[in-house]
Structure formats: C-alpha cells, structure tokens
C-alpha cells in the first residue's frame, strides 16, 4: 500500500506551491490524474489523502481523481486502441509489439483550488480561472 506515500507527496507538493504563491489560507480541492497503468488505487488514495491532509493547509480538502484510460497506437497499422486491464500491448490487428503507449501512466496533480488573500503574490502560478 504505497498510496500513503503518494498522498503525502501530493500534500507536500501542494504545500510547496501554496508557499511559493503566498497568502494561501486553505486548500479546498486537488485535482489528480491517475492513469490506469499507474499502479495506484484511487479509492485507497482518497482514504490516505484525507489522513495526509490532517493538520495541514489542506485539512478537509477534496481529492478529485480523473481516471485516464490506457491507450496505445501501432504506427504501421495506424491503429489506436484501449489497452484494457490487464493491458494488451501487442497490436490487435497485426500482432506486433506496439511501439507507442499514448496514455495510462499518468500520476500528476493537474490543478489545485485554494482560498487566498487578495494581495497574494503570484510568482509562479498562472490563474486559469477566477471566481467571485
């Protein structure tokens, strides 16, 4: 169960980003992309995330996970398919080993939503949306 380590890494990275930004008072949600082949169980991760957030800036933050299906492409056949689970990494048309995995290994923090003081410095993070 390495989901606790993963959750702690997520919390650590969000804390760092909040510190760089300055003026963040609380984090309300974290959006995470988890690929089908990332070797991480989203439910276990959610459970661990709640624990890892305790007594930090992220206390009570919601974890939103987007699952990314594994997809592969066979260049000679120009065929693209969902690899499924367990993954099938040989081309279903020609049977050759696929040379290109297009998606499914993602394990990344996409975005984070937080409360900040209006005067916050914006040194590193570009806002993608603002709400009143």
């Amino acid at each position: 169960m390495h989901e606790m380590s993963i959750a702690m890494a997520v919390v650590g990275q969000v804390q760092e980003a909040a510190e760089l930004n300055g003026g963040v008072t609380s984090v309300t949600s974290v959006r995470l992309q988890v690929g089908e082949l990332a070797g991480v169980v989203p439910d276990a991760l959610s459970f661990c995330f709640e624990l890892a957030c305790a007594e930090t800036l992220l206390q009570g933050a919601e974890l939103v996970t987007e699952s990314v299906p594994g997809r592969a492409r066979c260049s000679p056949c120009a065929d693209e398919w969902a690899v499924g689970m367990p993954p099938r990494l040989c081309c279903p048309r020609c049977g050759e080993p696929t040379l290109e995995l297009l998606s499914g290994r993602e394990l990344q923090i996409v975005s984070v939503r937080w409360e900040e003081e209006p005067t916050a410095r914006r040194r590193t993070c570009e806002p993608i949306s603002e709400e009143r």
Binding site: M1, H2, S5, I6, A9, V10, G12, Q13, V14, A17, N21, T28, L32, L37, A38, G39, V40, A72, M85, P86, P87, R88, L89, C90, P97, T98, L99, E100, L101, L102, S103, G104, R105, L107, Q108, I109, V110, S111, V112, R113, W114, E115, E116, E117, P118, C125, E126, P127, I128, S129, E130, E131
Partner: protein, 249 residues
Amino acid sequence: MCRTVDLHQAVLAKNDATAHALRAELAGRGTTMVNLLSSPGSGKTALLERELLRARERGVPTAALTADLATENDARRLARSGVPVKQVLTDGLCHLEASMLGRHLEGWLPAATRLLFVENVGNLVCPASYDLGEDLRVVLASVTEGEDKPLKYPTAFGLAHLVVVTKADIAEAVEFDEEAFRAHVEQVNPGVEVVLTSARRGGGVGELLDRALAVADGGAVHEPVMAGQPHEHHHHHDPDDTVMTRPLP
C-alpha cells in the same frame, strides 16, 4: 478569494529526480545498479546469494543491499557469499524510494563496486512505481505463483528490463506452463527476455550476473513499451545536486 491554479506536476517527480541524480552519480563511479522486484517468497534471496557467490568467484566487485520490513535474516544469508551486504529495514514501508536508498549507500558502498544489487521489499505492487536509479530492473516470479502472475501485476512486469523465473527445478511438480507464462509476459511487455533459474539445482545461475555485466559494459537494455510514455517532469532539479552528500570510502 477562491482561485484554481494549474499545477501539472508529476506526483513522483521528486523521487524521479533523485533517482536520475543517483543513477548519474553511480555511473560516474563505474557502478551499475540492479533492482530486484518480486512477491515475498519467490526466491529472490536464494538466487541472489548464488549470483553473489558467482560474482565473487569471477572477481567482479559486487555489493548487495536488501530491504525488508523487519529482521536482518536476508542480509545474514547474503553475507555468506562474502561480498559486502547491507540490510535496510523500512519499518513497515512497503517499498524503497530513491532518497532512502541514497542515504543507505552513503558512506557504505565500497568505492570500486562494479555491480550493486538492490533486493527490494517483497511486493509486486508498490516498488514498481519507484525508480531507484537502477540501470537494470529485474522482476522475478517462481513457478509456484501461477502463469498469470504477469497479468495480475501488469505494472511490475510491464516495466521490467528482464524477467526471471525461479524454482524451475520444481516446475514439473507444480505443472508450471512455461509457454503460457511467456505469452502473458509478452502481452504486457513485448520483447522482454525471460530467463529460467533454479537456485537449488544451479540451472540458470550466472545468467543474472551475465546480464548485469553486459549492461555495465554499455550493452543495450530492453525498452518496455509501458515505460515509453514520457512522464512530465515539472519539478526542477539541479544537475549539480548529489544524492550522497559525503564521499564514499
């Protein structure tokens, strides 16, 4: 004021950066690292003991680090080979991480080590996610574990540079279907080599050492399809950073 901020940071970016730095650092010392992954009880330690003994006989400067949740039993077994061995106790953690490994190598890894074998915690799930800075990742499975093991643990087998079957001497007794096993490995990791070994009878012993030496000599390493999707690394890492802060003896 509520704001959504775009981060796009790989969760394992820190571990990956540390692993890259450790890999470069070891390369600079002429050390090649082999990361061994398997379920508990698959015979990693038994095979490794034989391989270490073979390395010593052949005069290859080799060292081994073995990780377990508890007990120093594995280090005691491996030390019988006569090569430098270190036990890492993870205190319950199910896998090794690059920074942890770096700390344990610091001040211990003998300077002239050509091959460093790292026996990961017995677990086919968690260690698969963590690059340790190894040059060769070996996934082992015993004949008693069933032919579908590669399909049950696709991430571990899918990222392997080499697959080793252990306890081949009892394959017949447990009706191990080698052809089915190979087909399942091929499904998740097309083109990866599968080697059969028996630590007890000696079959295939030395193969692992040969593969590791070939990599140490600059030989090509299999590129798993699953490892092909580029990870995004937004975490900046200073190439001058070293993982091991103190010089080795």
